[in-house]
């Protein structure tokens, strides 16, 4: 009996430990003010209003990939942006693929150190949640070297020579919401039913996930004020099976015909639910999931909300050229800066009607011109997310 008790206690401890590990990274307040076209940059309060860099300065850039190119995701996106800059003659770029396995991790630190010690680079770029610790160490050791890290906000402001690039998920959500609400009543597309109900499978009921959701609901409501949004949370980012159960329930019980999965790997469970029922479509998040999902699931992925890493890097150099730098800060990039967007080729192009496409580009233009400001759930204590969720509950 003692042994059994011990076993159960251990099991409990482990279970708790594992759920705790599944949490999303902490988020700091973004210093960037709401996007308002070109004005956004000034409002983000550049750290140094240095004199504009000399005309036509060619930056020497090192891009350290903590994995390999060809991921059809963030690494490739960053590379495409840097390629574009290089082609335009604005930078010279050295890309170093450091490998992505745990065995390679020691090399990440040493490569970062070597490249920093070299001293010939104006900027060293890296990204993702795996790099902040290595970067912090290098940034402390080489205070004169400038660094940029994309899609990570772990140590914002702790190193005065690092800029953290983050992405405005509520802007992205707004575009996806606009798209989904336009599509969900377009019964000329197969598997679309006439009911204006769309679904959202989120990871954890947390400010970051709700930021996606808030934009999603606002965008959907702008298209159709009667829209219903079925919101479910898997309460972790790993349990694909439970995400699938939620997806099945949304599709079968509440007639959702489009489900947006925003729950890490678990979100793909919603795509599997759509596949199993044959009655719904899926929308991906962060990178173009049509390229990374298996062919079955990619076929029913209508589009994906995008974090445009490449565009955000171009924006960074545009700002630098204009004499605005953000060292030691986080910049939160929305549609205005090209930081987020929506996939508009492949299935989107094939299935979306002209009216849907027009609605999406209009929404994009309106956010760009400042006509629409998408609310954010981050730092919001007014309870408007809860209210909105209740209002759109099917």
């Amino acid at each position: 009996m003692m042994k059994r008790l011990l076993a159960l206690t251990m099991a409990g401890i482990l279970a708790v430990g594992m759920t705790a590990c599944g949490g999303a990274p902490a988020v700091t307040d973004a210093p960037a003010a709401p996007a308002e076209g070109a004005a956004a940059a000034e409002e983000a309060a550049p750290a140094e209003e240095a004199a504009p860099a000399e005309e036509g300065k060619v930056y020497n850039v090192a891009y350290l990939v903590n994995g390999n190119l060809g991921d059809k995701s963030f690494f490739d996106s960053a590379k495409s942006g840097l390629d574009e800059l290089e082609k335009a003659g604005r930078i010279t770029c050295t890309t170093i693929e450091m490998g992505g396995t745990d065995e390679d991790q020691p090399r990440w630190a040493s490569t970062l150190d070597e490249v920093s010690a070299d001293g010939s680079y104006d900027l060293i770029i890296c990204g993702t949640y795996q790099m902040p610790d290595y970067l912090k160490e290098a940034a402390t050791n080489y205070p004169d070297q400038k660094y940029a890290i994309f899609d990570d906000t772990t140590y914002v402001g702790e190193s005065p020579n690092v800029v953290n690039l983050s992405y405005r998920q509520n802007d992205m959500g707004y575009l996806i919401g606009t798209f989904a609400a336009s599509m969900t009543t377009d019964t000329s597309v197969e598997n679309i039913n006439p009911d204006p109900v769309v679904g959202f499978v989120g990871g954890v009921d947390s400010p970051v996930i709700n930021d996606f959701l808030l934009g999603f609901i606002e965008g959907a409501q702008a298209v159709n004020s009667d829209i219903k949004v079925d919101v479910r949370y898997t309460n972790d980012y790993v349990d694909t099976a439970i995400a699938k159960e939620y997806g099945l329930s949304m599709i079968n019980d509440n007639k959702c015909d489009i489900v947006w999965g925003v729950a890490g790997n678990a979100g793909n469970g919603a795509a599997e639910a759509a596949l199993e029922t044959g009655k719904a479509w899926f929308i991906g998040v962060d990178s173009d999931q049509e390229l990374t999902l298996s062919p079955d699931l990619a076929a029913l992925t209508l589009t994906s909300g995008l974090k445009n890493i490449g565009n955000s890097l171009i924006w960074l150099f545009d700002e630098w050229d204009a004499g605005r730098t953000y060292w030691g800060q986080e910049v939160n990039l929305g549609i205005a800066e090209g930081g987020v967007g929506i996939v508009t080729d492949k299935n989107y192009d094939k299935y979306a009607s002209d009216a849907t496409k027009a609605a999406v580009s209009q929404a994009e233009a309106d956010i760009l011109s400042g006509k629409i400001t998408v609310d954010s759930a981050i730092g919001d204590t007014s309870g408007k997310v809860e209210e909105l969720k209740k209002a759109v509950q099917p």
Partner: protein, 316 residues
């Protein structure tokens, strides 16, 4: 409320109970048999993770779900024998071995997945979800006559092959434990290893068989997770089912039938939580429902057992 009822009375609701219960049932059977042999295998979660990963990988590289499924079983058995080697031969505490397997099941599988597939992590953790298509998954079975019965057909027919085998295994395990000499030996070793040894039972061999059986069941469970329930392996996808099974084993009184009912109870509770969320119950309230029901049932079970144990004393 009427919505909730109509959602609950749909065949889909009852169908989902079986689907949710199946992987837990496998792990519960694994826990039952080792418990009968007198020790605890808390590494079921990790074993399932390994089986899930290698099952999906083998299925992809061979382009055959059957090969993938067999490899999942093999990996489950192999890993569990290794656990046995550490625990019985090298005399490591079996609980510690279990913890080690669970930790490896979380981090080690990701490591292996990256090494084997060369998939790197840009945004998402490496996974095999992009490799596995429907035809590489374990097929669903439509049962000829039953499928045409209204309602019941939609509850009982069309499940994954492995959902049916889960309940079949439950019966077979029960027969094995109570109707075969192997089962007798397992129980004898669990009751009193020295007594069993004194009548010529090889305690070590029986313990190995028991832990291998738990590995086999974990193999079934892992294959179900990555090749049927979800398409492909991703990190921590077993998501605690191996631990819930330990509770289901205790709740079911360590017997197969009881374990099956506890698994079904858990499946019912989970399905119920999902239906509650379909009518807008806050997910923070809906998702703990299965766990709350498990704890409450465990408490009731414990209470009943204690009061039963007390009765004879009072009579005496």
């Amino acid at each position: 409320m009427s919505n909730l009822l109509s959602n609950m009375l749909s065949p889909g609701f009852f169908f989902s109970i079986f689907r949710i219960s199946a992987p837990i049932l496998y792990a519960t059977l694994a826990a039952i048999v080792v418990e009968k042999a007198g020790f605890a295998n808390i590494g079921l979660e990790g074993l399932m993770m390994f089986s899930a990963l290698f099952g999906s990988l083998a299925s992809y590289y061979s382009q055959s779900w059957l090969v993938g499924f067999l490899v999942a079983l093999l990996v489950g058995v192999g890993m569990s024998l290794l656990m046995g080697f550490f625990a019985f031969q090298l005399e490591t505490d079996i609980i510690l071995v279990g913890i080690a397997v669970n930790l490896m099941g979380s981090g080690g599988t990701l490591f292996l997945c990256k090494i084997i597939t060369d998939i790197t992590e840009g945004k998402a953790m490496a996974s095999t979800t992009g490799l596995i298509t429907s035809k590489l998954c374990i097929p669903n079975i439509n049962i000829p006559v039953i499928r045409s019965i209204p309602f019941i057909g939609r509850v009982l027919s069309g499940h994954s092959l492995l959902t049916y085998t889960a309940f079949l295994m439950c019966i077979l395990t029960s027969i094995m434990l109570y109707r075969t000499s192997l089962g007798l030996n397992i129980r004898a070793v669990g009751e009193n290893a020295n007594a069993a040894a004194s009548v010529g039972v090889s305690v070590l061999k029986i313990k190995y068989i028991a832990i291998a059986f738990s590995g086999l069941m974990s193999g079934f469970g892992g294959a179900f997770m990555s090749m049927s329930y979800a398409q492909g392996w991703s990190q921590d996808m077993v998501a605690g089912r191996g631990f819930i099974a330990l509770a289901a084993q205790a709740m079911g009184g360590g017997e197969c039938l009881g374990g099956m009912f506890s698994s079904l109870l858990f499946g019912f509770a989970q399905a119920l939580g999902i239906k509650f969320s379909s009518v807008g119950l806050d997910s923070n309230l809906a998702s703990p429902i299965p766990y709350a029901i498990t704890i409450i049932s465990l408490a009731i079970f414990g209470f009943v057992r204690i009061s039963r144990a007390k009765k004879p004393k009072v009579a005496a």
